[in-house]
Amino acid sequence: MKQNHTVMKYIKIFKIYLVFLALFVIMTFASPAFFTKMNILNLLRQLSINGIIATGMTFVIITGGIDLSVGSILALSSIVACDFIHPNTYPIIVPILIALTIGAVCGGINGVIIAKGKVPAFIVTMGMMTICRGMTLMYNNGKAITNFDASFKVIGGGTLLSIPIPIYILVFTMLAGGVLLGKMRLGRYVYAVGGNEASAKISGINVDRIIICVYVIAGILSALAGIVLSSRVITATATAGDGYELDAIAAVVIGGTSLSGGVGSVAGTLAGVLIIGVLNNGLDLLNVPSYYQQVIQGVIIIGSVFVDQYFKSKKQN
């Protein structure tokens, strides 16, 4: 009984995994093509992009913020980076560093304006979303870059021990994110800022630095997702990542992270990412048109938060 409150936190996340499991079982029975090694690996590779972005989004949302620019940062960083991976030009590390730097800078600009300028995160990142998208179109006149060096294709298309590389990247990202949030000082400060900014400041936390930090993390992870995506589809297009911010926010919210800040976890976000991934993949296999998929995804987002709120208010009464 002594640990009941920590246990309750785990139970909450466990419930989300139960939903995932239920969905998984339903899909297995509904479609014979679902539970096959091929499809599961494919499913995981598909959801790795959203998983990487959603990890960064988790940090941002726990501080009580939002980042709408992740999809555009993904596009901008990958199109610039991909200009440096034409065959026999630079070693693979150069474009990767370029992409991550662009992600960090865009995120940093978001963070500085939000923290120092006191402009709402919604506005700043919405502006950054448009700016990055516009710059992506400017960079190559809206044309895609496709001429890649073979070494770069490994990141998105290669396998290690017959498991696709993007899955390793996803696992690494989430583990790192989970440790940072759950076990490290920075993570604790992220929760503190989201839970009560004034209290955090009075407790000696440099609140501005924490806020800038989370947007930099979100920016870097968007760029990382961009590298994986462009390598997998062997193209960097100006429209890449369009709407990804909504998938990421959906995963974070389904995973139990509160939009008002202070509460959430990477483990929850993983559950959210898996639910959305299984849903899309399964419905594809069942030949459900994508229009319906959108409707279903919307219902699940509202439903998950509604159920959560419903039980919360019932408990309080």
């Binding site: 002594k2 490290m184 000082r185 009560n196 209290s199 955090a200 009075i202 000696g204 509460v263």
Partner: protein, 527 residues
């Protein structure tokens, strides 16, 4: 001349949780008069008026309007009964016109089925209402472009247009200039001549004696007396406000007071406080008393680096500082328990352990980054035991604790940083008696270890019971300094209301030096 009684409140009781804030309060208001409601912060004035306006529900008692009992369940009901309240913080909508604000919720309509708002008629009617109180304000102007005083007049016009017979004004002169005050008083005279009855809450005694017909004093949720203003003066009023019997016991141990460890020099910030200087000695509890809005919290926030002052400096252990962030202040051994634990003190969605360790987290980290969870838990459980925080575990959500236990969590946070100086802003506000006395005990233990406390408090018994020295602030200045031996409730209140100034007399200082030699470690039973 016998005036008609328009309002009677009889035997009103009200509790929040287990704290009784109004106890059998009765109150009568006569037509065409201004009735001042006086009392310290927390005496129950605002609560009584909020009950009259249907914002709070009374636990017991009756309200009679012109002899008939009425049930006021919400502010709209109060309005319908002819009761209007003008709040201290104006509630008008800044981007709507004066007329739209006056007729908010009861707009003049026109067209089929009242589809459209009749702007023209609203402007006309608003003009009439404003003229009635002789306020030269354009009904078409947006509230945003008016001064505070003008916006206040709009609220009064709104009250009049609601056919209000009873108008409650809560600290109406706190944010307006002296010439605007004159205008307001003329308006009030006009209202009285029209037969309206006004309830007026204010701390400013000079104003009260100029305009009040009757004065009712509340103290600690009880009515002390109602008297005609002509039979009162400053001294009588002050003694009625604070003349409580002091029989509460405080856990105050005698601590030998050492040298000066901390000085604030000439702290000023425009419009908030000016030229604040004081020192703090080793082992001392220094109280800062004053009325709401005297600038006490602002000074504390300036000292702690939350909002640095425009000018001034701090001397700590012989070195000069001016903290620009709380982080610097914490590093130099300061701690700050804020006035509002929910708003600025705690992270209510985090657990107790996280709230206790947050200000000193680096100490519980490997390589400065990785939190040692076992160590963190150990520290938290240690303080939970030491401060007897009532909780089943250190992982309970802080938001689920009672006020007193929450306050102890804040104290635990700061004690775990081992500060030399603690600033406590209203440390016992809204917590029960048992928790209060535990906090007093912790304060005494803390200074006994050679540390010092600055305590801001609006509760005079606690100021008198716990402090070795008391500063009193009035409108951003220090107007009084008292030693423990000479401090009285009346003295503090007179300085807080700005009707007296006082410095420490030399005679007392000498006596204190004599006493310091014979300090024991006994506990004061009475003060």
């Amino acid at each position: 001349m016998k005036q008609e009684v328009v309002l009677q409140m009889e035997g009103i009781d009200k509790s929040f949780g287990n704290v009784k804030v109004l106890n059998n309060v009765s109150f009568e208001l006569k037509r065409g008069t201004l009735h001042a409601l006086m009392g310290e912060n927390g005496a129950g004035k605002s609560t009584l008026m909020k009950i009259l306006n249907g914002i709070y529900k009374k636990d017991a008692g009756r309200i009679l309007l012109k002899g008939e009992e009425v049930n006021i369940s919400n502010p709209k009901a109060a309005q319908d009964l002819g009761i209007s309240m003008i709040h201290q913080e104006l509630t008008s909508l800044p981007d709507l016109s004066v007329a739209a604000n006056i007729f908010l919720g009861r707009e003049y309509l026109k067209g089929p089925g009242g589809m459209f708002v009749d702007e023209k008629e609203m402007y006309r009617q608003a003009g009439i209402a404003l003229e009635g109180i002789k306020a030269p304000i354009d009904p078409r102007a947006n509230i945003r472009f008016l001064s505070v005083a003008q916006a206040q007049l709009v609220e009064i016009a709104k009250a009049i247009s609601c056919k209000a017979d009873i108008i409650v004004m809560d600290e109406p002169t706190s944010a307006i200039t002296s010439s605007e005050v004159e205008n307001l008083f003329e308006t009030i005279e006009t209202l009285k001549r029209q037969g309206k009855a006004i309830i007026y809450i204010s701390h400013k005694m000079d104003e009260i004696f100029r305009i009040a017909d009757e004065i009712t004093v509340l103290r600690d949720g009880e009515k002390i007396d109602t008297r005609p203003a002509s039979e009162m003066n400053h001294e009588v009023l002050v003694s009625m406000m604070v003349g409580r019997e002091l029989n509460q016991q405080f856990y105050k141990s005698k601590v030998s007071i050492g040298e000066v460890v901390f000085q604030v020099k000439n702290f000023s910030r425009g419009g908030k406080f000016k030229d604040i200087s004081f020192d703090l000695k080793k082992g001392e509890i220094l109280g800062i008393a004053g009325l709401m809005g005297a600038g006490r919290t602002e000074v504390a926030e300036a000292v702690f680096g939350i909002h640095p002052p425009d000018s001034g400096e701090i001397v700590l252990n012989g070195r000069n500082y001016l903290f620009k962030t709380p982080k610097e202040a914490i590093r130099r051994g300061l701690a700050f328990v804020t006035e509002d634990r929910k708003l600025t003190g705690l992270n209510l969605v985090a657990d107790i352990k996280e709230n206790i360790t947050i200000a000193n987290l680096k100490k519980y980290c490997k390589a400065g980054q990785f939190i040692k969870k076992a160590k963190e838990k150990e520290i938290a459980e240690d303080y939970i035991k030491k401060l007897s925080i009532k909780t089943p575990s250190c992982t309970k959500m802080t938001g689920q604790l009672s006020g007193g236990n929450q306050q102890k969590v804040v104290l635990a946070r700061w004690l775990s940083c081992n500060p030399r100086i603690m600033i406590l802003d209203e440390p016992t506000r809204g917590i029960d008696v048992a928790a209060k006395s535990e906090i007093y005990r912790l304060m005494s233990e803390y200074v006994a270890e050679g540390n010092s406390i600055i305590m801001i408090s609006s509760e005079l018994p606690e100021i008198l019971g716990m402090c070795d020295r008391v500063l009193v602030m009035h409108e951003g200045e220090i107007t009084g300094t008292f030693l423990r031996e000479e401090v009285t409730q009346e003295g503090i209140m007179a300085c807080a209301a700005g009707i007296r100034r006082k410095e420490i007399s030399i005679e007392h200082t000498e006596r204190r030096q004599h006493e310091t030699e014979s300090y024991g470690n006994e506990i004061y039973k009475d003060i």
